[in-house]
Symmetry: C2
Subunit: 113 residues, 2 copies
């Protein structure tokens, strides 16, 4: 298990957890770029959005609903927030385990990178 996000999901690497379900774990980004900066990952290892199977809509949806729940738990659902997933090099993906960033607590500019 070389994947650091698999290890966080399994509890063998520490992280500040915000939310856990059967499918999903959410924890704080170690290099936060906004007052709220949480990562939401599936427990199952999937390398990226591109690696999700056509039959995995339910897992994909569970991830997305969890991002909205994280925003509510963090108190940024009303002020606003941004959800971001990076795939591949030009997307800026740095860990090859699918993850969503949830950023809030400050105005987020445009374009998004």
């Amino acid at each position: 298990m070389d994947c650091i996000f698999c290890r966080i999901a399994a509890g063998s690497l520490p992280a500040t957890r915000i939310l856990e379900t059967d499918d999903v774990v959410a924890f704080r980004d170690l290099n936060p770029r906004a007052p709220t900066h949480v990562l939401v990952i599936p427990r199952l290892h999937r390398a990226s959005l591109d690696a999700l199977g056509a039959d995995e809509a339910h897992l994909a949806g569970a991830l997305l609903l969890a991002t909205a729940e994280v925003a509510r738990l963090e108190g940024v659902a009303d002020s606003g927030y941004r959800v971001v997933a990076n795939t591949g090099e030009e997307g800026g993906q740095t860990v090859d385990h699918l993850h969503f960033h949830v950023l809030g607590g400050r105005p987020l500019g445009w374009p998004p990178g």
Copy 2:
């Protein structure tokens, strides 16, 4: 039907469509911020991620799988891309119909806004 994205989904406002399914429509952003800049929306009106119901994981997942499919159709799945959803004012949401931005074709910087 005052919502412009509902009108695009219904075909009563023109858009350059990339993909259509029973659940989802994808079309080019009119103010592209990257060589590939496509919006993916549900046909059903949902104001934002925060407005998705807990029983709507399948719809949420269909949206997410469609973003990955758009990236493949646009030829940016290998080079990389970013998927972004804005919710509320600080998130930078400008149309109150849930939509994902798919950006690719250039390196995307960090933080994402």
